[in-house]
């Protein structure tokens, strides 16, 4: 038993915590207040910056998708370059169901999320046996197949010109068309999504995933069924990607092969790495930066790809925890 003097922070949890929990955790009341402030700002944002709402909506959609990937890559350690497959299932699926067969939008979205989950479950058992680069390659192959099918099945998907006239999301009698409406919708959906992932990784499941990522052999010895957990993470990430894809199609009222192309598949992984895996804010930050960069670069859009590449290299090399992870680490000093 140690007899070190603890310099306690006012409001810090009482001593008796294991020594491994060294980081300072802000006290309950402080966290609640900041949560409320953040929520208040988020609610009022549309009035402050109406011109940026479109960007925020898109960033929110990608935040959702990257959050799902975070569970798979950040916590379970499986590299997937093929989330666009599920985006396409959600986007094209919901688009076709609502456009051609006049299904209600909400039902279409949920049904396609279920379909994506089933596909992920099926693919996962087979794919997730592969390791590292081979898994990356196989999922990259999925991304290429997705883009090619979206472009090639012209009669079905509208081909290279895409699917036009997808209706907006309807929640009961309300049509979610305007930027503001979409923004609030995304706020709710992302909040729920983040809450779910946060809970998951705090739970037994989350610890099991971390164990599998860190040392699969040890995890198996501890009785963790790695394959089942990995597939579950894959399924959850697929559902998130599918929902994101559906929301994207409803917002744009359009979807095309470019929206689910290989470039997008890579950018999803880039957003995660840039923002910081294994955190909740990291994906949001990554999404904002990657989606926002072309906006900033409207005047010099030709510089944007080059700058994006250089930024990525610098962040991955010198900021391994991503931007947010590094900020957190610095703030905890």
């Amino acid at each position: 038993m140690t007899t070190r003097e603890h310099t306690t922070h006012p409001g810090a949890p009482a001593t008796g915590l294991p020594a491994s929990r060294e980081r300072r955790v802000p006290a309950r009341p402080v966290r609640l207040v900041t949560a409320l402030v953040a929520a208040a700002v988020a609610l009022v944002l549309p009035l402050l910056v109406p011109g940026w709402l479109g960007l925020l909506v898109i960033a929110g959609i990608f935040f959702l998708i990257v959050l799902g990937l975070n569970l798979l890559m950040g916590y379970a350690g499986q590299v997937s370059l093929g989330q666009t497959l599920f985006m396409a299932l959600g986007g094209y699926g919901a688009g076709l169901l609502t456009l051609r067969w006049h299904w209600p939008t909400l039902v279409a979205m949920i049904v396609m999320a279920g379909v994506s989950a089933a596909v992920a479950a099926g693919l996962g058992t087979v794919f997730l046996r592969l390791r590292g680069y081979y898994l990356a390659l196989a999922t990259l192959g999925l991304a290429v197949i997705t883009e090619s099918l979206a472009s090639g099945l012209t009669g079905f998907t509208g081909g290279p010109s895409g699917l036009v006239g997808v209706p907006s999301l309807h929640l009961g009698p309300w049509e979610i068309f305007s930027d503001q409406a979409n923004y609030y919708l995304l706020l709710v959906v992302c909040g729920l999504g983040a809450w779910f992932v946060g809970n998951l990784q705090r739970s037994q499941t989350g610890r099991a995933l971390s164990a599998i990522a860190a040392d699969p052999a040890a995890a198996t010895m501890l009785g963790i069924n790695a394959s089942r957990y990995k597939t579950s993470a894959f399924v959850v990430s697929a559902v998130y990607a599918s929902l994101g894809g559906s929301l994207y199609a409803f917002y744009l009222r359009f979807i095309s092969p470019e929206v689910v192309g290989v470039t997008v598949a890579l950018s999803i992984v880039i957003m995660l790495a840039l923002g910081g895996a294994r955190t909740l804010v990291g994906p949001l930050l990554g999404a904002l930066v990657i989606q926002g960069l072309p906006e900033v670069g409207q005047s010099f859009a030709s510089w944007s790809p080059f700058v994006a590449g250089v930024v990525l290299i610098l962040v991955i090399t010198y900021l391994p925890r991503g931007i947010w992870g590094t900020v957190k680490k610095l703030a905890e000093r």
Binding site: V79, G132, L137, L140, I270, G309, Y318
Partner: protein, 296 residues
């Protein structure tokens, strides 16, 4: 020969020429991987950069296109060495292999961006090395530039074989490739060997770029298809296996050519990818690779 037969052979020839370029890219990826365990997705991007640079040099200096090869190849060997020192080495020292993949994605993105900045979004081409000549055998027309591409591949493979099997440097490289940690313990400067591997990969990329551009048009957006193709060929052929890389590249080019001629271009991609994925799942070491790379 019947028209369908000549048509088929024509497609095969075209596919092999494409495949030759993919093979050169895959060789670069495979070589770098075997030494450093880094999969350099940016290799395809360097090919396009070398190609456009060759075009500019040719126009600026007014030299015959073949001379640009002599200028660009050593230049690129140097360039890749610089990239290795500036970008790869610091990243490799700090990042896990999975994250290194993302660094190379960043390099690829940066190259594409650079191409867009300097050369704009227009397509570029160059005069063939031996003029607009072609050989016609029994109705099948083989453009002379295709022979240059295949020739470059043969020269590269031969030179690589000679280097690896017959020189002491090659021996050192093989040792490093099979077990980097043990090699380091034996006093081999692994960092220097990695630098050499990257330089060689740069030279290969330059060779691929300069020989292919007289046969087609390239532009900033070609980096992605080349990167993907090179990556696929290297991994399907078996990472670390030079022979596998060459076979993988040629087969990929062939399949693409056959399918896009007889079915549609998009479905060709789908089928090629599906075949690849099945191959990965069934025979994950690729055609000729080593088992240790694959499963957990």
């Amino acid at each position: 020969m019947s028209p369908t037969m000549t048509g088929l052979i024509q497609v095969v020839i075209g596919g092999l020429a494409d495949g030759g370029v993919y093979a050169l890219i895959a060789l670069g990826v495979s070589l770098v991987y075997s030494i450093s365990r880094i999969i350099n997705l940016a290799q395809g991007g360097f090919v396009v950069l070398a190609a456009l640079l060759a075009v500019s040099i040719q126009q600026w200096l007014g030299v015959p296109p073949l001379v640009t090869v002599v200028i660009v190849v050593p230049l690129f060997a140097l360039l890749m060495a610089v990239v290795e020192r500036l970008v790869m080495a610091p990243a490799a020292a700090r990042a896990t292999p999975d994250r290194m993949l993302l660094v190379t994605v960043g390099v690829l993105q940066a190259i594409g961006g650079l191409l867009l900045l300097v050369w704009g979004n227009l397509p570029y081409t160059m005069q063939p090395f031996s003029g607009d000549t072609a050989i016609t055998i029994g109705g099948v027309r083989i453009v002379s530039q295709y022979l240059w591409i295949i020739g470059a591949l043969v020269v590269t493979v031969a030179a690589l074989w000679f280097l690896v099997q017959r020189t002491s440097l090659g021996l050192t490289m093989r040792a490093t490739a099979s077990n980097p940690e043990a090699a380091a313990l034996q006093g081999i400067n692994v960092g220097r060997i990695r630098l050499i591997a990257f330089s060689l990969a740069g030279a290969m990329a330059a060779l691929a770029g300069t020989t292919v551009i007289p046969a087609t048009f390239l532009q900033f957006s070609t980096v992605t298809p080349y990167a993907v193709a090179g990556f696929i060929a290297a991994v399907a052929g078996g990472l670390g296996s030079n022979v596998g890389a060459v076979v993988g590249g040629l087969v990929l080019g062939l399949l693409q050519g056959l399918f896009s001629r007889y079915t549609s271009g998009d479905l060709a991609q789908v089928i090629a990818m599906a075949v690849l994925i099945v191959l990965l799942l069934v025979r994950p070491t690729g055609l000729l690779g080593k088992k240790s790379e694959v499963r957990r």
